[in-house]
């Protein structure tokens, strides 16, 4: 059983804040504790910023996932941007092409319970799941 809860289009810088506020609300509704809400909001912020920095536009979708008795939040960040050229490099701590800290994707992987990255010349899709405890 699963369902889409909400989605946020990422086009402008302010959408990063909108996405993380939406994610915080959704995670609160699903019963996540405050630390997990912060982890989820931070992960969303990193994913949304990647879309904003490297593509024209993208979307972050929130889905409820169930693996009885567990409830989880699935975050899908998708764009039709140029894709990531070096997938292993972006998963390395400290790697950045934009002058950032290079904590984004490897950080999201550590903050979440499941992390999957697909990318080709037609775009990038990151899927991440956090299970409520």
């Amino acid at each position: 059983m699963k369902g889409t809860l909400s989605s946020v289009v990422i086009k402008q810088e302010w959408d990063i804040v909108g996405a993380r506020q939406a994610g915080r609300q959704v995670s609160q509704d699903l019963g996540f504790g405050s630390v997990d809400q912060a982890r989820i909001a931070t992960a969303i912020s990193e994913l949304a910023r990647n879309i904003y920095l490297y593509t024209e536009e993208g979307e972050i979708t929130f889905e409820e996932v169930r693996d009885i008795p567990k409830v989880g939040l699935k975050i899908i960040a998708q764009d039709q941007g140029p894709g990531i050229k070096d997938l292993s490099a972006v998963m390395r701590d400290g790697y950045s092409t934009s002058g950032g800290l290079g904590a984004g994707l490897p950080g999201v992987k550590r903050l979440m319970d499941h992390f999957d990255l697909e990318s080709d010349e037609n775009g990038t899709k990151v899927t991440a799941i956090k299970w409520a405890r």
């Binding site: 990063i16 912060a38 912020s45 990193e46 950032g100 550590r110």
Partner: protein, 119 residues
């Protein structure tokens, strides 16, 4: 939106009470350095008690502001980092080792005094 910066004797006090987007964070950085210059403040306390999310960008802005203020001759101390923020930052892989911190505003002022006396 702007972050208010208050002057108290030789110090500047900041309490971040709004959701920081990238632009606001950058503007704050600029405002703070300008205010240090204008007032000749020797120390700054930035209180993060109300801040619930610090992502890698905001963390970079915070780390940079410490170095930038340091170049100008002012010390910055961050206070009130929430447990969830601390856990999230370390899991993200951001250690901010160069950033002086204290538990709360009171401890922050004490730390500033110590740092400034050591100079």
């Amino acid at each position: 939106m702007r972050v208010p910066i208050l002057k108290l004797h030789n110090y500047l006090l900041v309490s971040i009470q709004i959701e920081l987007d990238d632009q606001t964070a950058m503007k704050f950085q600029e405002d703070l350095l300008g205010k240090i210059h204008d007032t000749g403040a020797s120390g700054v306390v930035i209180d993060l008690t109300s801040v619930e999310v610090v992502d890698s960008f905001i963390a970079k802005v915070f780390g940079d502001v410490v170095s930038m203020a340091d170049l100008m001759g002012a010390k910055v101390v961050f206070t009130g980092v929430q447990p969830a923020v601390s856990m999230t930052l370390i899991e993200l892989g951001i250690y901010l080792k160069e950033v002086p911190t204290a538990l709360d505003l009171e401890q922050g002022i004490i730390k500033l005094r110590q740092e400034l006396e050591e100079k």
